[in-house]
């Protein structure tokens, strides 16, 4: 029986009360005179000048930095106002400012052209692409600096750079890469694919999502500005008395990390809320794709660890500008405060740079094995376990620093314990590979390389966690090689696996397979040739961040340098592939080129603005690759047209 909703003839119905009327806000303007990246740059520049002048008014003759012609207050205020100007210029603050004055904010215009990528856009798919460009710029900047480092290390006595230039390059390389790596997967792929994978139409907080992107970009400018202030000599760890001693470039480092940590906090918070609250009906926790598990674990770390970095950076800025003594031992502070705050953030940060890689690999391997993910629950438990334990291991960075000696066995234990949940990831991968039908596509090769590389990174991590062995390897090239194996060999390889896997969905254009294979093999081989010798160099006694080294290590260093140049060149193949396949000679990709069962592949390509016409009802988990007649993943037809983050799309539904 159907119930007619038509009014029966002759029956008067009481008038429904008028719904409250909102004044339809004027849409934001488009065109040259609207807000876009150009206005952001202009406002950032003006903000810089204003802040610098204001800082000089306040702080000249009070906080002058020796031999720099600067004072630290103006250096800090210039950067602060630059970031505020940048955010104002891009339009990130329009909404909060309007709300503060009790007005309705201007509506968001849905730009369809390419110019939407230059604007403060609230669509998670646009933000995802913006992030891809952002992290690649970050990555290649840091990569060029790495080439400079390896050039200097070609010879122990002949120097290409002056000692201070070299240390600036090292510091800038480390900091830029760490900032990039903390967002390299969460930003582009997390923002783009989490809503698609959980069946949502948007992020929980689209404005905060866009805000996290534009603060991330601002952080790039801030940390890059250090080069114009004479750099900073502390490496990416910024240890304190040296930090207090350093010139105005240090402000860029401290404020850069503070800005980036705001971006990380907001991105993580937004992703966590989205994953918890915006899952489609039927998307229970046991059906959530493993990539989403990795992102929620990472989001928890981002949300909880970044504030510590923000606080640490703020204390440092106060030490430089307001003459406080948080890190000044002589005046009652402690250099250990920085070390502990930094690593209390820094170790969860290390897993921020590992977990998303595990997620990508877990997501891609079943597709190319035609097998379900082995031990799905163990994979999820491993990620959550790593995330939890990562807050209890930070003092292993300080084993030789003179901490309470009782702490050393304790942190040795917790650090070695964390290899248990990390090992789960290997169980999952090896179980999935068992008797699989592997198709060799580029993403699959990158995933297998992640296991190959991360294994070395993980096993060498056990060496580092053992306090007696740590005496040999701490602070040397061994640890340097270790974390390049985990971050670059793990996360960056996984990031490229993800790019090759998902770019056809993001842009609707295929990546060239032949060039992809060239990129993979050169990157994989030269990565290992670059970094494996560094284990030996480290064992033979070369400390990190040095520009002179023992003569007998020259052969190994040269070998590593030449491999590093080839590794750098391999990324040119990637850039060429990207340009060729996406812009010069684009080839249309089918909407599901890899025959994946994942929800993100079940929408049309290009993905419609609201992702799903109706919110899908999830019927099962997405890993039924081994069954000939796999049950349907989701019901796309009968789902309710609301919930799961739907906003205004119902009005555009053809059914209504």
């Amino acid at each position: 029986m159907t119930i007619s909703s038509e009014q029966p003839v002759g029956v008067s119905v009481p008038e429904a009360p008028e719904p409250p009327q909102f004044v339809d806000p004027k849409p934001a303007e488009s065109g040259w005179f609207s807000q876009h990246i150009g206005t952001a740059i202009i406002c950032g520049f003006l903000g810089y000048i204003l802040g610098h002048w204001l800082g000089n008014v306040i702080g000249s003759n009070y906080a002058n930095i020796a031999n720099s012609g600067q004072n630290s207050i103006s250096a800090f205020m210039a950067l602060l106002f630059m970031v505020i100007g940048w955010l104002l210029g891009i339009g990130a603050l329009n909404y909060p400012i309007a709300k503060i004055f009790g007005r309705e904010a201007k509506g968001e215009v849905e730009f369809t052209g390419w110019t939407r990528y230059l604007r403060y856009n609230l669509d998670h798919k646009v933000v995802g692409i913006q992030y891809v460009v952002g992290v690649l710029v970050f990555f290649f900047t840091g990569g060029l600096l790495a080439m400079a480092i390896r050039t200097e290390l070609l010879n122990p006595t002949v120097h290409v750079f002056a000692a201070d230039t070299y240390i600036k390059i090292v510091s800038e390389h480390g900091t830029i890469m760490m900032m990039m790596a903390s967002s390299v997967v969460v930003g582009p792929l997390g923002n783009y694919f989490v809503p698609l994978m959980i069946g949502a139409r948007r992020m929980a907080f689209p404005r905060i999502e866009a805000f996290s992107l534009w603060t991330f970009v601002a952080g790039y400018f801030v940390i890059f500005s250090a080069l114009f202030f004479g750099g900073f000599p502390t490496g990416w760890t910024g240890y304190a008395p040296l930090q207090t001693q350093a010139g105005p470039g240090m402000i860029s480092y401290l404020f850069g990390f503070a800005v980036i940590s705001v971006g990380m906090m907001t991105a993580g918070f937004n992703l966590a809320v989205t994953i918890i609250n915006y899952r489609a009906p039927g998307m229970t926790w046991s059906r959530v794709p493993v990539f989403v598990w990795s992102i929620i674990a990472t989001a928890a770390l981002l949300t909880l660890a970044s504030p510590v970095l923000f606080a640490a950076g703020t204390f440092g800025i106060l030490d430089h500008t307001a003459e406080t003594a948080f890190y000044v031992t002589e005046h009652g502070g402690s250099s250990y405060l920085w070390e502990n705050l930094f690593w209390f953030f820094g170790h969860p940060e290390v897993y921020i740079m590992a977990l998303p890689g595990f997620g990508i690999v877990g997501e891609i391997i079943p597709v190319f094995c035609r097998k379900p993910l082995f031990a799905y629950r163990i994979a999820a438990a491993g990620m959550i376990g790593v995330a939890l334990l990562s807050f209890f291991v930070w003092q292993h960075h300080l084993f030789q620093s003179g901490i309470d000696p009782d702490m050393r066995p304790l942190f040795m234990l917790t650090t070695e314990l964390i290899s248990i949940p990390t090992g789960f990831i290997f169980l999952v991968g090896m179980g999935t590979l068992y008797k699989a039908k592997i198709r060799y596509e580029v993403p699959m090769l990158f995933c297998m390389a992640v296991y190959f590389n991360f294994l070395i990174g993980g096993v060498s991590g056990v060496f580092l966690s053992d306090v007696p062995v740590n005496v040999t390897v701490h602070g040397g090239f061994f640890v340097l090689s270790h974390f390049h194996y985990t971050i670059m060999g793990g996360l960056i390889f996984a990031f490229f696996a993800g790019l090759y896997f998902w770019l056809p969905k993001m842009t609707g254009r295929k990546m060239n397979k032949k060039m992809g294979l060239w990129h993979f093999w050169t990157m994989f081989i030269f990565f290992n040739l670059t970094f494996f010798p560094m284990f030996i160099i480290g064992l033979l006694g070369q400390p990190r961040r040095v520009f002179t080294y023992a003569k007998n290590l020259q052969t190994l260093n040269d070998f590593s340098s030449i491999a590093a140049f080839c590794l750098g060149a391999s990324f040119l193949i990637f850039v060429a592939n990207l340009m060729w396949s996406q812009f010069i000679s684009p080839e249309k990709s089918p909407s599901n080129p890899w025959d994946s069962l994942g929800l993100e592949w079940q929408t049309a390509t290009p993905i419609p603005h609201y992702n799903f016409e109706r919110i899908p009802v999830i019927m099962t988990d997405p890993y039924h690759y081994s069954e000939a007649n796999a049950p349907a993943l989701a019901d796309f037809g009968k789902g309710p047209p609301v919930h799961a983050g739907s906003t205004t799309a119902s009005s555009t539904d053809p059914d209504q």
Binding site: D164, S335, F374, A375, E416, G431, K435, R439, V459, V462
Partner: protein, 322 residues
Amino acid sequence: MGSEENHLRRIVIIWVILSVVLDLVFWFAVGPHVPPGRMTSSAKDNQLDFNILMVIGLPVVIAVWEWLGYAAFKWNVRRKDMPESVGGPSAAGNKRTEVSWIVITSVVVLALAIFGTIELYVGNGSGGGEGPNPIMQPAGANTAETAALAGTGTWSPNSNQVLPVQVIAQQWKFTYRYPTFGGFESSDLILPVNTEIAFNITSLDVIHSFWAYQLEVKADANPMQNNVAFTRTEQLGSFVVRCSELCGIWHGAMFNPGRVVSQSAFMSWASSTETANATNTADLPPFAWTYVPDANGADGGYYPDNVVPYSPTEIYGSKQPS
């Protein structure tokens, strides 16, 4: 038919053979030469630790790499079309495999942690920095350190005493002070053989790290903190000290050689240097575990950190620069 068994059996056989061969090769051919050698007790102990970790780690690495390689060559399809499904619904997990994986990794990891802790205690802190109040230390260290600070410490050949040596790091140089020999300062680190050395490491400015490579001693030099590390010299020879914590632009150039000499040679070197340096030593601030810059700033010298209340004139008298 039975192919599952065959795959696994083949993998296990290859793994056992490779593991045993590589472990034996490593243990006997490479192990004894693992840097930094066997010059001190901590170097010897930590080399053993490293080798044991390698012997456990190699089979793990081989297992995963072999599995990857086996899968890559045996379990692939070289076709364009979609391969038919494999495994059935049961491929999604296997309780026995999962449980045994967790149990085995946990046992290995816990065993390593326990082994590392025992080695740390037995090896008197393994040559790593233990902070101002070490709990893992050789017999007699406490007495020697207390006497050194009081200025009453002595050391003589064949006495089996602990020798306290102070390492003072600054940008960009290490200086060594020998409290048992009147507190003289030297740019050379000379040590007697077969002696327990107590390194007391501190810094005058930023954080450095004292890394006596062949001695297998590494400890951060923190301003206003004493960081103690122990080792026992066991072989004669020279070694290199490098800074292993970034300390500014000349960090890469902060290194100096050192020597382990016979006890009698050390005694004659120390006594003659003590006499030769006597006038310089008199100008130095009194021996203390830590020093801070005095009120006159960088060029005003340093005063001992533990003198409270601070009165430079009292300590230095007329030597205090105005």
